[in-house]
């Protein structure tokens, strides 16, 4: 852990966009961020998990939007003019993440990432790939790919399949 920072690791330092959620600060890999936009109403989708607010029209693409607070099991906040929707693209899929505010861009060297201690409570560590310190601040690094995770989709598909099988039987 305490290796001296080599030139290589400095070069590999990644940039993270930090966003605020209550009193916490989360980092999103900046390479995944497509754009940051204000909150606009979305179209609700039937049978979606509660944290999926709906879909919006992003220049012709239908993009789902999820609320990070709800995703982490926090209370829903009123959306205001300052509410921000961060559009990210992961593995060819785009989706929006609603957060309270966008705050900063920080640089994080690979060896500056610590594992997340089991916090037991609100935030599921499954969606975090680590935490890092920026000065006095603690930034939780999001594992963006897992937010609109395939597990749910697979579970849904499996449920549908079994239902269909039942219907056939």
């Amino acid at each position: 852990m305490n290796q001296p920072a080599s030139i290589a690791s400095v070069a590999e330092a990644a940039q993270y966009l930090t966003v605020n959620l209550g009193n916490e600060e989360y980092g999103v890999d900046i390479l995944a961020v497509r754009e940051i936009r204000g909150w606009t109403p979305v179209t609700r989708i039937p049978q979606a998990p509660s944290y999926v607010l709906g879909v919006l029209n992003l220049r012709g693409a239908i993009v789902p939007v999820l609320d990070l607070r709800l995703r982490f099991g926090l209370a829903r906040e009123e959306y205001t003019a300052t509410t921000v929707c961060v559009i990210v693209m992961v593995a060819g899929r785009q989706f929006g993440i609603v957060v309270d505010a966008v705050s900063d861009v920080v640089e994080v060297a690979p060896d500056g990432i610590r594992p997340v201690p089991d916090m037991g409570t609100t935030v599921d560590t499954e969606y975090l790939k680590g935490l890092t310190s920026v000065g006095e601040r603690m930034v939780l690094l999001l594992d963006v790919d897992r937010l609109l995770q395939p597990q749910d989709a697979q579970m849904l598909e499996a449920a549908l399949a079994s239902q269909e099988a039942k219907a056939v039987a």
Partner: protein
Amino acid sequence: MSKVDLAQFHKAFHEESLDGLDAMEQALLALDEGADDPELINVVFRAAHSIKGGAATFGFADVAAFTHVAENLMDEVRSGRRPMEKAVVELLLRSGDVIRDMLSLQMAGQPGATAESQSLLAELSAMVGGAAAPVATKAAAPAEAIEGWDIAFRPFDYLLKTGNDPARMFRELEALGPLATTVDASKLPSLADMDPTASYLAYTLRLDAGAKRAAVEGVFDWVDGDCELTVTPRVAAPAPVAAPAAPVAPRAVREVAANSEASSVRVGIEKIDMLINLVGELVITQAMLSQFNEGVGEARLEMFRHGLAQLARHTRELQESVMSIRMLPISTVFNRFPRLVRDLAQKLDKKVVLDLRGETTELDKTVLEKIGDPLVHLVRNAIDHGLEVPAKRTAAGKSDTGTLRMEAFHRGGSIVVEVADDGAGLNRDAIVAKAVQRGIIASGEGMSDDAVAELIFEAGFSTAATTTDLSGRGVGMDVVRRNVMDLGGTVNIRSVHGKGTTFTITLPLTLAIIDGLTAAVGSETYIVPLVSIVESVQVKADLVRSVVGGGELFRFRDEWLPIVRLFDVFGCDGERLSVDQGIVIVVEAEGTRIGLFVDELIGQQQAVVKSLEANYRRVVGISGATILPDGAVALITDVTGLVRMQARRKAA
């Protein structure tokens, strides 16, 4: 060899080879029917030759070796040393199939040789030159005492641009025997004047092998007419030095397009999708603008209207022209049928003439890709079950050769594809008996012939007493119907006993844009595709019956249809209306009708269909999304899904 990554060209090679194989198959089938056109033989030869060349270039040695032998066989036919017999056609047709398989394997990164290819290769080799070894190895001592060949080769300056590479041709020559190359660079201009894509060099080649003339000339087949070429044999010592032979008689300049296909452009589908997306946006903008069409100053308004009319026209034209990029003639699908019909007829000892019509009718690429399988199924069915064996046909007073007609044409805003045979027609009694046995109907009494015919679309329905390896593999007409339905189309059947059966498939021109009714449900908006709508009705409360378990039925003419409340199915927000406050849209899918209950109909509009799965996932009851004139997203209902959902609920 340079280190250029050839993998990027593999896909293009694969596609071109498949096209070549298709052309080869068509030519072979024409030859099989007795067409006597040397050009057809050339088409086959060239297809094999270019696949061999490509395969060798890309290091697909198995394919190259196999194709080489097939090409040699073809060469014997071309040079008149072997008649184009049935056996040859048969063997070459099978070779085409094997090459197709080998190519697919190679593209998947597996070695291309299979047990089948090995055994066929042996058959081919045995036929070529009466068991002569493939020419690729050193040829046996030739009858004429030829020691070698002197070749003067001067490519015209554009040769490289035609995709030919002298170096590759020389490698091919080298495979025949030791090769000495002298380069004449006298025409090479100064570096400043040089066009790197032009060829300036001339070559004198000395091949020290007694290869056959055809083998040597074959190497230069592709550059025929694009170069000066002299091939002179060097005869054994006693003979005086041969006078330079006359240059190879230039073969008649062949038409570039060997088959009549219109020249086409390969465009990446993602680029087209992008264009369609943009045009979709334009359509939406136009719709948005048209809403300002009220309440502005009179003169301005006139101008505004004029501009709008223009925008509307341009948008429509642009849309049509862009959509047309995706449109391909149905011949790309039809072309596979001559072979299928020939093989099936042979296997079943039936005589069948395939009558293809309307092959230039254009269809959306996505529709084309999906319509192939249902058509194959219908054709198999027609030949296996529909058409009778010759003896039976003559007994019935018909010609012993059955006719299978496949026809595509436009009707209204749709494309119709018909598959018709003049066989025995459907056996009404057998279908009724089977349907009664399966509990689908109680009895066939009072059912019209058409209604009986419709029964064969029921799941798991097959009238074939025994399943053959041609049909009855558990997939039936229900699958055909489902596939067509998934494309937003319908299948109809018309059958006359003793006269034949006609299947009519009606398909939308494109899947990218649909006509739909916009409906309000609670505080939300949904779009119901117009093609599935039978009628919209206001239902009086006294025509509604609730049934045990919470379902509701309403009376629609003579039927009682289940009501599906979209409000509940989709879990909408807003106020829940009672039945007589809203509208019931009667929709039909898979032969079943249900009533979709919505609050209000807003209007009819064209919807540009967007995928929900691209960024999200499949949602039950929703087939996609579209963008409303105000920029908001509206979801498109999946009527088939809703009907199935209702059926499932009933079953539960």
